[in-house]
């Protein structure tokens, strides 16, 4: 195993080394570049980053993430980064494997057979953090497939704004991630719309209540209407 696989730097020196960076790439580039330069600098200058993010790995990062009290980007006239944003930046440094992100997103202390939508993702700010990272770092099909189930999560989230706090919800935040261009002081790269991925057969149409009703109607109709030649069509 290469040395770089088992260890990473305690600080962001390697990540911020534009020419010397040799770590994992996200969509062909240094992951740090997913944050704007000014934001990057304010993060690495912040006390929270220096004190609380130094030496974290994917496991110890959970200690900080479960202590988060709000989401958000930067605050005040100085554009001070929130702990949420600092931890997201740390994730860009670590580039944890997929299973780890899924564990953050859907962690439940219940045994696997008892996990359902009501108890998955017990630490809601950790869930929000993972969702934010996934939107930045993963591929479109995986983003839709992984984040859409969170649209059922109605739990409250506190969101730090430039000069105060507002209330939002996990589902609202995820909806923002899937539809807006800018969330938490970060420009989200342009994702192909869901409909395009459906047309390309990369995604199944999203099931909604309405969809289920339509299908129920179709099934009722099956008794009366004979669909001719439906078997040999494809």
């Amino acid at each position: 195993m290469a040395k770089g696989d088992a260890f990473h730097k305690a600080d962001a020196s390697a990540l911020l080394d534009d020419r010397g960076y040799s770590g994992a790439l996200i969509r062909g580039q240094n992951p740090a570049l997913l944050f704007e330069k000014g934001v990057r600098e304010r993060i690495t200058d912040s006390y929270y980053w220096k004190e609380q993010c130094f030496g974290l790995n994917a496991a110890t990062l959970c200690d900080r993430a479960v202590e988060l009290k709000f989401i958000g980007g930067t605050t005040g006239i100085m554009g001070k980064p929130t702990p949420f944003l600092c931890l997201a930046f740390k994730l860009l440094q670590l580039v944890p494997e997929k299973e780890i992100l899924l564990e953050y997103l859907n962690f439940s202390a219940h045994s696997p057979e008892d996990v359902d939508t009501d108890n998955a993702g017990e630490f809601k700010y950790l869930r929000a953090l993972a969702a934010f990272y996934i939107r930045l770092a993963w591929e479109p099909v995986d983003i839709y497939k992984t984040l859409e189930p969170l649209l059922l999560d109605r739990r409250k989230l506190k969101r730090r704004t430039k000069d105060g706090f507002t209330l939002t919800y996990v589902d609202q935040f995820v909806d923002d991630l899937l539809t807006k261009d800018r969330v938490c002081a970060t420009s989200l790269w342009k994702m192909p719309p869901r409909s395009l991925l459906e047309d390309l057969d990369l995604l199944e149409p999203r099931e909604s209540l309405l969809q289920e009703e339509i299908e129920a109607l179709d099934e009722e109709g099956d008794d009366d209407v004979q669909i001719v030649g439906s078997e040999g069509d494809d």
Partner: protein
């Protein structure tokens, strides 16, 4: 009560006893980690021997260096807040020796504020002085899951602690109110018994036209 047991069966009580439990968990985890590392190294040594090679720990690392880890608690800067510190002007780097400010024992340097202090703790100089590699071991999904289970257990127990505390306070309030009610009743009764007829002091009626001169 001096022989009171803490909520986690630790004797001595005091409001820090539950923290010690966590420290112990942390120590146990560390011990396990050391054990695991030791096994890993033995395995690597063994495999190297099979291939007829000499085993080397990772190059350019002193043999007793340990991996860098995240801080397990906040730096204690709160205790310094509000203290006046005399720090030489232009102290960009630490000042040799113990002085007013933030002192690093390992390097024998004093820093004028918490930013400079934490920057020092993260520096190459300090890491080398304290035998750290400056590299952090990557965590796998099992470690992440184990960590989250631990954090969940910790949170549940802390919540329970708060509930127990709240219940105890409610119970104390109830008892205090009960005592006060009892005390008022007792005083009322006493007052009544003090009069000869047992009817207590009565209002003095003025038996004329009601005009008080």
């Amino acid at each position: 009560m001096s022989n009171k047991k803490g909520a986690y069966g630790t004797s001595g009580g005091g409001d820090t006893s539950f923290r010690k439990t966590w420290d112990r968990d942390e120590y146990a985890a560390r011990a396990e980690e050391r054990e695991r590392k030791h096994k890993e190294e033995s395995k690597a040594r063994y495999e190297a021997a099979l291939e007829g090679k000499k085993y080397h720990r990772r190059a350019s690392t002193p043999p007793d260096a340990r991996e860098t880890e995240a801080r397990s608690s906040r730096l204690d800067v709160a205790s310094m807040v509000g203290k006046t510190m005399l720090v030489p002007a232009g102290a960009g780097i630490g000042k040799r020796g113990k002085g007013a400010g933030f002192y690093c024992e390992a390097c024998d340097l004093t820093f004028k504020d918490n930013i400079q202090y934490v920057e020092h703790l993260n520096s190459r100089q300090h890491l080398v002085a304290t035998g750290q590699t400056g590299e952090v071991k990557r965590a796998g999904v099992e470690e992440v899951r184990a960590r989250l289970l631990w954090l969940k257990r910790k949170r549940d127990e802390e919540t329970k602690e708060v509930v127990i505390d709240l219940d105890a306070r409610l119970e104390m309030n109830r008892e205090r109110e009960e005592r006060e009610r009892e005390e008022r009743r007792r005083k009322r009764n006493e007052k009544r018994r003090k009069t000869k007829d047992g009817l207590g002091h009565q209002e003095v009626k003025i038996e004329n036209d009601g005009i008080i001169c």
